[in-house]
Every structure is written in C-alpha cells, then in structure tokens.
C-alpha cells in the first residue's frame, strides 16, 4: 500500500509536468510550430501509459481519444486552427482536473463524456470533410480553388454562390465543399473549396471582379493527389481493425522514441514544509552555538572557543545551502502564463504577442508562490484594460497585435519582475475623475496632484477605472491587493505609463523572505525587530515634535503630522516616561505612520521563524527571530499593528 502511495505521488508529479509541457506545446502548435504536435503526442501517450498502469481507466480512455485526434493532426489529416487548439486545451484541462481528483480521492471517476464527444465530433467533422474531398478526388476534376471570404462579409453563402456562378462561366464546377445547402443550413464561416475541371487560367481574372474575398489559392489536382498519396491507404481503408493496428504500430514507434529521450534529472523531490523544518533546525543550531559561545567565554576555555568557531562556519554554510535549495526558477510559475494570456486574449477578442524573459531567474519559493496571483492579476489587467481591440489598434496606426512582456532579472540584491504592454496606457484624467467620484480625493486637491500621485490612486482599496466590473479583471479589489502583497514580501512596486503607448509595472522583490534585514529596537527591556523594507526613516521624538490632538498622538515630521503609535502602550509595557524617544516612520498604503520606541540597538540580517500552532493567531507579529546570543525577538508586522484595532 505504501509502495502504491509512493507510485501514486510519482505519477501525479510526473503527470503534472507533462501537463505543463502539453499546455506549452499546444500554444507552440497554434503558433505554427508543427513539430510541437509530436511533443504533445508523446506527453499524452506517457500519461496514458501511466494511467493504464495505475488502473485509472477513465483517464486512460480520455488520453487515448486525445491521442487519436493528435495522431490525425500529426498525419496532417486534420487542419490546425484555434478552435481545434481550444478543444485540445480543454482536454488538457480535463486531464489536470482528473489528476487533482486522483490526488485527493485516489479515484478518477469524473464525467468526461463532454470532452470525449467534442474530441470525437471534431475528428468526425474533419473526416467528413476529408472523405468528401476524397470522393471528389475520384471525380473528374482538374484543380481545386480554396477560397476564404472576408469575415465582415454579410450573407457569406450568397457571396460563395456568386463565386461559384462566376467560375461556371469558364469551367465546369464538379463539386463544392461544403456544399451550397450546407452553407445555407449551418453557420458558414466563409471558407470553402471548389473542385472544377477545364480552364483555370481565367480564375484570377474572375475572382478579381468579386468583392469581399480575403484570399484564395488555386492548386492543380494532380499534385494535390500526389501529396496525399502516401497516406491515401489509411484514409480510404477505414476499417476498424486496420485502424487499431495502425494505432498500435504507432504506439510502438512512439515507445521506441520515448525511451531514450526521457530525461533523468539528478534530483529528488522535497516537500517545502520539510525545507522549512530544516531551516528552523538551523535556527536551533544557531541558538545552541550561541549558548556554547557563552559558556566558552564564561569559563574561558580556549579549545571550546575554537571548536565553536568551526561549528559556526559550518552552520553558516548550512544556512546558505538551505536557502539555496528554497530558491526556484520563476519559470515554474511563469510557464502557466502563455496559456492564460492566450485564453483570455481570445475570449476578449484581442490579439496579443506574449513574451517572457529571464525564466531561469531564481526566487524564494514562498515569495514566488505569493506573487503568483498578483502577477496573474497584472497580466489580466494588461490584456483587458491595456491592450486595445485589433480594430482600435489599427485605427491608431499601431500593430493589430498587442505586445505584452513579462521579465524577471536580478538587480544587485533584488529580484525585479517587470510587466510591460504597448496598450493604451493608464488614462490619468479618468483616474482623477473616478477618484473624485468615489470620494477618494477632493476636487481641489486633485488639481495639485502630480502624475505619479494620480497613478498611486489606482492602488487605493476599492478603486477601479472600469465602470462595470468585468469577469476578467477590475473587480476593484485588484491593484491594492497586488501592492499589499508586494509590500508584505518586503518589495516595492512602480508604475510607468504613457497614454497611448503602454504601461510598465516594475516589481522589486527580495530574493528570499526567510532572511530579512531588520532594525532591532528596544522598548523598555524588550527587543523587537522591524523589517527594514517597511521603514522610511527614524528620528528622535521629544516634547517639541510630539503632539496629542483630540486624544490622538502625532509626531511632526518636516511640518507634517504623522499619526504615532506607542509600542509601549500597544503591548502594555509599563515604564516611566522617557525624555527622548525614537520614532520609526513606516509606510503603509502610501500613508506614513510612526512607531515610537525607546531606542534603536542595531540593524542586522535575521532569520524569520514563523509562528506556528495557536501562536499563529497572534496579531501584530510576522514571526520571531533568534539572535546570535540566543535571544528570541518578535518581528513586528507593521500593517496589522497599524490597521489593527484588536489589541
């Protein structure tokens, strides 16, 4: 049973990897990379094999059907278009769904009839097209004209009839695919082929006289037949047995191909929580080391001191290594973006060219996980609000296809992620109007706001420039959540926008959050750590710049009133009033606040140890850290301290 469990884990992990690959390759396929079909085929085939082995019949069945369709694509029996890719992607989604189900319930019983039937019907409809074509091959025709009528043409079937009638003046039309009746009865998309016999030299002239034809091509049928020749037998002889045999031989070939290419990477899978545990243990070691140091100096034992310093080095190295293991490539999250962008752009009728850079940039696993949703939100915004519709872009003299780029790179000690689009940019006038409407700013203050100030308005909670919240983006909760997340991780965010030219969002993140720079402050005889990322400045506070207005304390920073919070009062620490205290100015949601402490002791890198169990419910702390001397120091969580009223 245990062994089965392990196998299952392995299966799920691997299947997910293949699913990622499939998503990617299908997009490549759509972009015209025909070889991608082989990759997808192989992935489906492998999942099918594993599913069969594990006894997941349903999944096996779905993969089998998908594989069949892919086989047809590979053999160029089916034309690739976006609708087909849609169906294939849906099938991939379904497989992912089944994998999730298997992970949770160890079962794969889920309704797949929908997706099976759409796979089948696609295959069938293409087959029908092809068989009718094949029949036509037997008919006496000299050439075939493939015609595409303009999308904005009204009464496409009439236009088609016009084309057919016009051709009839010069040659004998043998057959039309789809037939004229089919054009009338079904939703005719404007693509059709005419098989004809006779003089094809006049066709150009004839078609030149007909409006609303997007494109057409004339192919003599002899060569057409030749190109189809090698596959002809499989096309014509469609008996089930033969077909099955064909599929099987293909499977064998596939197996041969698949084995040598299977990459054995030299890695083991480790659960993140295990890494966290190791990190914590390293912290314990640091405390132990501290105690040993203390003993060594207390009893003045030279040998022990030496031994501890060696231990110290080892511990530091260990800490570095664990940190490195926690780092993952952004690729792991970015890889799902192309699919998302494609689906969304298609849904919104926009054309987007999406590029990614710096995929091997490494980031702490936790940071990356936290950033996933904000990044998705920003990309959605770029597609929904940023990129204009193809018509609009055309009218503006821009390329119909909008560009969106996401990149990650290391800049000094930070990781920088940028999302850039060449869309319409943020309409600052609209932002201003909206902010006034929503009562976020007053009309008089609006006039004095700089562009930068205006941009920062979009990060206020409850702000959205779109009048009606769309399903895609703009529920009005977005941007402020993005900003809060980035700040919580100790990063910062900047927006640059130019009307009509695009928007660029730059997110700066620390490579890890397990170790942060912190300010150690003293309050009475307690020590607290404040993440340096949230600190703006520090200043002395005495009776000259400390004011109480309407019962609320403020400190004056360069003639401005900043709300102040006395740590002593918040934590109920009793201590006599001091002559001079220190105000730590921090920023939250663009507003400044001051925390009043007794003094600052030092600034240093600290290892965050999260609060667990019932302690995790304690508000006001991000976690704790253990200093070199073994002291346990709470890390203040600025945003909950300031916003918090539950103390």
């Amino acid at each position: 049973m245990n062994e089965f469990g392990e196998m299952l884990q392995e299966f799920i992990h691997e299947a997910r990897e293949y699913l990622d690959a499939m998503n990617q390759e299908l997009l490549n396929l759509e972009r015209g990379d025909f070889d991608a079909v082989n990759e997808v085929f192989r992935a489906v085939h492998t999942i099918k094999g594993m599913a069969g082995f594990m006894g997941f019949k349903n999944l096996e069945n779905l993969c089998h059907k998908l594989e069949n369709l892919l086989g047809e694509i590979r053999d160029e029996k089916i034309e690739i278009n976006s609708d087909l890719v849609d169906i294939l992607l849906k099938a991939v989604d379904k497989i992912a769904e089944i994998i999730n189900l298997i992970e949770n319930n160890k079962k794969d019983e889920i309704d797949i009839s929908d997706i099976l039937s759409s796979l089948e019907s696609w295959k069938k409809s293409c087959k029908e097209n092809k068989t009718s074509e094949n029949q036509n091959l037997n008919l006496d025709a000299d050439f075939v004209v493939d015609i595409k009528i303009a999308d904005d043409c009204l009464m496409k079937s009439v236009r088609a009839a016009l084309v057919i009638e016009s051709l009839k003046e010069f040659c004998k039309v043998v057959s039309v695919v789809p037939s004229e009746e089919e054009m009338d009865s079904t939703n005719f998309n404007g693509k059709f082929s005419i098989l004809a016999k006779g003089d094809c030299s006049k066709i150009d002239e004839v078609l030149e006289r007909i409006a609303e034809i997007d494109s057409y091509s004339i192919k003599p049928l002899s060569t057409r037949e030749q190109t189809k020749e090698p596959k002809k037998d499989s096309n014509v002889i469609e008996e089930d047995k033969l077909k099955i045999e064909k599929v099987e031989t293909r499977e064998k070939e596939e197996d041969k191909e698949a084995i040598p290419e299977k990459k054995k990477s030299e890695s083991v899978r480790v659960n993140v929580s295990q890494l966290d545990k190791i990190m914590n243990l390293v912290g314990e070691l640091v405390i132990g080391k501290g105690r040993l140091l203390q003993i060594a100096s207390q009893y003045d034992i030279a040998e022990l001191k030496e031994a501890v310093s060696i231990l110290d080095r080892a511990i530091t190295n260990l800490q570095d290594e664990v940190m490195r293991i926690r780092m993952v490539k952004v690729e792991r999250v970015f890889n799902r973006f192309p699919r998302m962008v494609r689906d969304l752009a298609r849904k919104l009728g926009k054309k987007v060219e999406f590029t990614m850079e710096g995929l091997d940039t490494e980031l702490d696993r936790t940071v990356l996980d936290e950033m996933t949703d904000p990044l998705i939100h920003l990309l959605r915004n770029a597609i929904d609000h940023g990129i204009e519709s193809p018509e609009e872009r055309k009218a503006l003299g821009k390329n119909e296809v909008g560009k969106i780029k996401i990149s990650a790179k290391r800049e000094r000690n930070n990781i920088v992620i940028e999302i850039e689009d060449d869309g319409r940019g943020i309409d600052l006038e609209k932002v201003k109007k909206k902010a006034i409407e929503k009562g976020l700013i007053s009309e008089s203050s609006a006039a004095s706001l700089s562009n930068e100030d205006l941009i920062s308005l979009i990060f206020l909670p409850g702000f959205s420039t779109k009048d009606t919240a769309s399903e895609i983006s703009g529920r009005g909760v977005g941007m402020d959540v993005v900003k809060t997340t980035v700040e919580k991780l100790g990063g910062s965010l900047k927006v640059a926008t130019k009307k009509g030219e695009g928007t660029k969002i730059r997110i700066q993140l620390p490579p890890t959050i397990a170790i942060i720079k912190a300010l150690l402050v003293n309050v009475s005889n307690e020590t607290y750590a404040i993440p340096i990322s949230s600190v703006v400045e520090a200043l002395y506070v005495d009776s000259t710049n400390y004011k109480v207005i309407h019962g609320n304390p403020f400190i004056i920073v360069r003639d401005k009133l900043v709300p102040a919070f006395k740590i002593k009062e918040i934590f109920g620490i009793r201590n006599g009033k001091m002559e001079r205290e220190v105000g730590i100015v921090v920023e939250k949601n663009g507003e400044k606040y001051a925390l009043i402490v007794d003094s600052i002791s030092e600034q240093q890198e600290i290892v965050i140890k999260p609060l667990t169990g019932y302690l995790s419910k304690v508000k006001g702390f991000n976690g704790i850290t253990i200093l070199g001397d073994g002291r346990v120091v709470p890390i203040l969580d600025i945003s909950s301290l300031i916003g918090g009223d539950n103390f």
Binding site: S157, A161, E165, S166, D184, R209, A211
Partner: protein
Amino acid sequence: MVKLVRVLIVDDTAFMRKLLKNILFSAGFDIAGEAENGKQAVELYKQLKPDVVTMDIVMPEMNGIDALKEIKKIDPNAKVVMCTAVGQEQMVKTAIKLGARGYIVKPFQAAKVVEELKKVAGT
C-alpha cells in the same frame, strides 16, 4: 482620360436612390440615371447603356429578378448588382444564377457598396 463608370440606380424608394446616389457620386461614379421599377429599368437600360446597374429586388410593376432577366436578354454581359436585405438570401442566389454580378446589403455601408461596384465594373 479616365472614363467614369456610369451607374443606373433602380429602387422604388426615392430615399434609397438618393442614398446610393450620394455614396456613388462621392466615390467618383457617374450616375447615368434612376428608375423606380423594373419596367422603367429595362427601358432605361436600352437607352442609356450604363456600365453597372444597382437593382432593388422588391418593386412594383416589375420586380428586380424579372428586370434582371430582361436586361440579360438585351445584353448578356450586363453588370447588375442586386440590392438586398438580410433574409433575402435565396432571392439573391436566384438572381446570381440568372447572371447578377454582385450584391450589396441594406442598410448600405458606403465602403462596401463602393468596393462591390468597383469590383464589378472592373476598375
């Protein structure tokens, strides 16, 4: 010297004739004449020998389809463009089988009308 394409506009409503006239005139076509029913259209075709005819389908006295037939009898190479509305697909198809060279759809979009007539006239 560029010879303007001469168009005969056939429609029973003055409004539609005027609309087409405006569209075609500003696109550089010459208006050869106007007819308000099929019968008049056939007569005028004989007289004016226009390059292109825009032919409404539903008209009193003689409808567009019959007028098309008559005109084709007079001149098998006559270039007739049918004026149609959504829902009249089958009628237009009949007209096309009878030799109509194109169709324009009401409500008219100027660009489409001009494109169609230019294509049919061969300019």
